[in-house]
């Protein structure tokens, strides 16, 4: 009984802290939006509007009210799902973003799978071979992945693998002549093309996603490797590892049957965080690969100065980050018997 109340209290505390962070996020995006030197009214009414029209719009936008009141209006709008209208498309911003999101999620999910499949074994290997040559080699490989400007690597990869070797598809999500062939149901091209039974489109999509996904995957593998190594090193110093060895388990068995289970929880957290940072890489890589996703939407609106769209994008990234943190927290409780009981 008291245990249950404790649990509820903890959950309430967490919800409260998330709410405060969310409010802070909104405040931040709101005030960044107000920093803009350009005049939003002038942008709407045009250069040769009359003074009356200008003032009318000024009042309509609520700009004559004090700042905190404007913020409250902003909160009310956001709460009702109104993030403003995009200047370029004339559609609600949130609708635009929902439309481009699947492309990015498809890319990022592909990338995180590559990153985890690459990074976790490398990190384990580096920990096991600490201070010997595999460790040093892996350190250089992962630090390089950490240090490369991904937009540049993307271009070099395009030059080499697309232009010269012709191994992969170039820009975009699929070859030009397939565009519009598949009906959009989920927005995830790989799924849609399979649903429609269009195998050509499916393979074209795979061909296009593989290169940017590998690059993003490599950069997150760098991070995953380094974290896995340090988690693993911690575990290898634990006594239960010695116990397993005394029982007659080989080093490999000890690592995969015993130590790995203990870093699983931490790895989930790390992979979740890495997934969030992929969004950052996606902004740049989508520009290079003309990938019609969230990142490209953000940057193209940056260039034309559509602050509604930009700030909503920023807000969404923040929300995704908080969500991933919560999710990893939740998985932590599910996976670790010590927090389960």
């Amino acid at each position: 009984m008291s245990f249950l109340t404790l649990r509820i209290q903890r959950a309430a505390g967490q919800i409260g802290s998330v709410a405060v962070t969310l409010l802070g996020l909104l405040m931040l995006t709101f005030f960044i939006g107000r920093l803009m030197p350009a005049d939003p009214v002038r942008a709407m009414v045009g250069e040769d509007a009359t003074r009356e029209t200008y003032e009318q719009v000024y009042r309509d936008l609520g700009l004559d009210r004090p700042l905190w009141e404007q913020f409250l209006y902003y909160l009310r709008d956001v709460a009702s799902g109104d993030f403003g209208t995009s200047i370029r498309t004339g559609q609600p911003v949130i609708q635009d973003i929902l439309h481009v999101m699947p492309a990015t999620i498809e890319l990022a999910t592909f990338a995180i799978i590559i990153g985890a499949l690459l990074g976790i074994p490398m990190g384990v290997l580096a920990a096991v071979c600490k201070d010997r040559w595999p460790d040093h080699a892996i350190r250089v490989v992962s630090l390089t992945g950490h240090s490369m400007p991904i937009f540049w690597t993307g271009m070099i990869a395009l030059i080499v693998f697309y232009a010269h070797l012709g191994l992969v598809g170039g820009s975009g999500r699929m070859d030009q002549f397939y565009i519009g062939l598949v009906e959009e149901r989920t927005g995830f091209l790989l799924i849609d093309s399979l649903l429609a039974g269009e195998m050509d489109v499916f393979w074209s999509a795979v061909n296009h996603v593989i290169l940017p996904a590998c690059l993003l995957g490599y950069s997150s593998a760098a991070y995953i490797t380094r974290m896995t190594r340090s988690f693993m090193l911690d575990q290898l110093n634990q006594e239960y590892v010695t116990t397993a060895r005394v029982k007659g388990l080989s080093q490999a068995q000890t690592i995969w049957l015993h130590a790995f289970g203990n870093i699983r929880v931490q790895l989930v957290t790390i992979v979740a965080l890495a997934y969030g940072s992929l969004l950052e890489g996606a902004v740049l890589i989508e520009t290079v690969f003309a990938w019609p996703g969230f990142g490209q939407y953000l940057t193209s609106n940056l260039i034309i100065g559509d602050m509604n769209a930009v700030m909503t994008c920023v807000l969404i990234v923040g929300v995704i980050f908080i969500g991933l943190n919560l999710l990893s927290d939740l998985l932590y409780r599910v996976l670790d018997p010590r927090t389960r009981s």
């Binding site: 006594e239 239960y240 116990t243 005394v246 029982k247 007659g248 388990l249 289970g261």
Partner: protein
């Protein structure tokens, strides 16, 4: 009496260390209970781990390191896997750390059996349950399903003993098996260990800093200081120790009903550090 273990001039140096941690240790062991006593850093635990060849990065040399019919110095890692757990095992100090926190204790116990015998999971489970009963765990079925954080220290150490004796080894090294336990359960746990070791004719090396404990539970005692054996004695002859270090250790023990003068302080003479060939 048949000799289980024959060690001569064992030397161990950790990677990057300036001095050897163990310098020329020699002893033999039959089916008996041998205590190794010394203060922390004397190299007693290092000897224990070296016998199982579980010191990554350390160099182990010895004139002789025979365990039953095998020469441990010549064994490859692959061959050691068949020795560890099956013929020689080790009970570690603190069950809080020596049990894997995220696996059920029963699975951890039966793993020893599965590793060394061709059998079904079911059979391994039966064996493990029987062994848990042998270490006087009342409700083995329930304990089998528990996680390490759900059992007490004394219970944890009994589980550890069950795990290490399950494959019926010939030699068990107990590395400070009771130091982490509550004083009240120490004797219980030692009793259980002692009974099992005696009934099954297992050779036991008990590593400890506790002179009284070793005196009561072992047949012979090895006193180590700074990586060397300074004296070997029958447990009953401990009072007649000759080496000043051993005498110092004995004098530093408090005794109920003994004189009330301040306990003497160990003095360590630099010449003991030199190697006595």
């Amino acid at each position: 009496m048949d000799t289980l273990l024959d060690v001569s001039n064992l030397r161990i140096r950790y990677g990057g260390a300036a001095r050897e941690a163990v310098r020329g240790v020699s002893f033999t062991l039959g089916r008996e209970r041998l205590g190794i006593v010394g203060e922390s850093g004397s190299g007693k635990s290092t000897v224990g781990r070296a016998l199982l060849k579980l010191l990554p990065g350390a160099t182990i040399t010895a004139d002789r390191l025979r365990f039953e019919d095998v020469d441990l110095t010549l064994l490859s890692e692959r061959e050691m896997l068949k020795i560890r757990g099956r013929r020689m095992s080790m009970i570690l100090q603190d069950p809080k750390f020596s049990l894997n926190p995220i696996r059920r204790v029963g699975d951890q116990v039966s793993e020893t059996y599965l590793r060394h015998f061709r059998c079904s999971r079911r059979e391994a489970r039966e064996r493990a349950l029987a062994m848990l009963e042998a270490v006087k765990i009342r409700d083995p079925e329930r304990v089998y399903r528990q996680y390490p954080h759900e059992v007490s220290g004394g219970m944890g150490q009994r589980i550890m003993i069950a795990m290490m004796l399950l494959a019926d080894p010939d030699l068990v090294i107990a590395d400070e098996p009771t130091s982490a336990l509550d004083v009240t359960v120490r004797l219980q746990v030692l009793d259980i260990l002692d009974n099992l070791v005696r009934n099954r004719g297992i050779g036991l090396i008990m590593i400890s800093h506790d002179l009284n404990l070793v005196r009561n539970f072992c047949d012979r005692v090895l006193i180590m200081y700074a990586g060397q054996v300074v004296e070997t004695l029958k447990a009953g002859d401990l009072e007649r120790a000759e080496h000043p270090y051993t005498r110092g250790l004995l004098a530093a023990q408090p005794r109920i009903g003994g004189p009330r003068a301040p306990l003497s302080v160990l003095d360590r003479k630099p010449e003991w550090l030199e190697e006595n060939a």
